[in-house]
Amino acid sequence: MAILVKLDDLLHARRMTLSQLAEQVDITLANLSILKTGKAKAIRFSTLEAICQALDCQPGDLLAHEKE
């Protein structure tokens, strides 16, 4: 997919694990894992907002578009 999810980089920068993020944003570890590995087909605004709030970032920090 041309949309890149940079959750791994953000977590690394914040020295946070996926489990810790899952607890903070109240989203299952399984779903966050789907997002992290780029297997998600769509992301809800509520999920995006929760992640941005927890990681203190902008949606653009989390997602990027890669030209094919």
Partner: protein, 163 residues
Amino acid sequence: MNPRPDILSTTRLVLRGLTGLNILLGAGIAVLLSTSFAAAPWLQKALGAQPEQMTGMRLVMLVGLAGIPLAHRMLTRLSTMVETVRDGDPFIPENAARLQDIAWALLWIEVLKLAVGAVSAATPFAIDPGFSLDGWLAVLLLFVLARVFALGTTLRADLEGTV
């Protein structure tokens, strides 16, 4: 022990029974049709039919035979759908296609009823084809349901990848 009857198991059994009966009916009609050629006088006497009614009777038997694979298609598709409900995941694209198959089969069965009506009107062999608006409404309903099912499965597939 579960005091509630397992509706799905009962439905599965009923569908299997109907599928078997349908095959038997087909075999019966085929035997009758063959007998109407091989031993026409005997069959006329046995059924109390007039000789001029035999052509109409044979045509109705042919139409009946044509309906057997259609009914078989409907029953087996419905059986498979019931199996998917038992397995816990009926909202799959294959079931939308099966529902559409059932709708087409029912449409052709209604057309065959018209054919029986035409034979009945054109020959001395009078038989009630069982005309009813309900059958045609059921066809429409099934086509609409198949479409709704197809859209539903697409929506669910979209939701499955949503986080």
